[in-house]
Symmetry: C2
Subunit: 125 residues, 2 copies
DNA sequence: GCAATGCTTCTACATTTGTAGTAGAGTCTC
DNA sequence: GAGACTCTACTACAAATGTAGAAGCATTGC
């Protein structure tokens, strides 16, 4: 029962972020959580959630009043993992350019690296 | 003249990989470089290259016979950088989950990490 | 020079994606 | 229980994407 490789679009991913952050959310909550400047119409969110449900990325859990609550089925980690792997392909599988960019853009700190080192050593055993 | 944030689709990115790898390539070369199992029609490659040209991601350099040669305009690095940044957004901007995945999947070695550490220290100055 | 071959240009079209309106059912408030 | 409000379900549609055929110009090998 291999997990089907679900491909999410940019907007779908964007909405997923809110679902992940909110844990369990109604369309309205997501809608309002989106910064007004880039907020699509309420029904647009709804359409996307429906599509996400069809794709198996979220599921309806329960109703509050007549509104459905949605919850993520796929984890942020697993979804991110796939994206990372795709990204790696771009660089021929080597993580080096990726790490280099993180450093160059100041996003990876020495602490992060130390932490990574520990993880690696721990994992080694 | 800020560089316009060009959004490439999956297939376009896939083709770009060959352009980057080959340096300067004709449609046919790219076509043949793609593993037969996932090779689209010759004209499909051509259409994509034309679109990439419109988007400014590649340019025609010269002709060999009556075939055009294409070359990347955007670098693999800059394109990758944008994708990485988008990916980071997914995790709220923190590189930690990203690094964790690289480690978990065995893609990041201790050497990579040491190397990163050096880069960081050098950069610090 | 001309036929075969290869390349380009144009055109086409199904799907997917982003975006949202409308109608009607459900709920809440007096 | 009637009106106001809210949510869902359904429908629509333009633009982007993946995919490729057809027609015709350019080269080349004779």
């Amino acid at each position: 029962m291999a997990k089907k490789h679900v491909r999410l679009t940019r907007l779908e991913l964007e909405i997923m972020r809110y679902v992940w952050d909110l844990g369990e959310a109604a369309v309205r909550e997501i809608h309002e959580a989106i910064p007004a400047s880039k907020r699509p119409a309420y029904t647009t969110i709804q359409t996307i959630l429906t599509r996400l449900e069809e794709k198996g990325a979220v599921k309806r859990t329960r109703k509050i009043g007549n509104a459905h609550l949605y919850q993520a089925v796929t984890t942020r980690q697993s979804t991110g993992a796939r994206l990372i792997d795709e990204l790696l392909d771009l660089f021929g599988g080597s993580p080096e350019p990726l790490v280099a960019h993180l450093i160059d853009s100041g996003k990876l700190t020495l602490e992060d690296v130390k932490h990574a080192e520990e993880l690696l050593k721990k994992r080694r055993k």
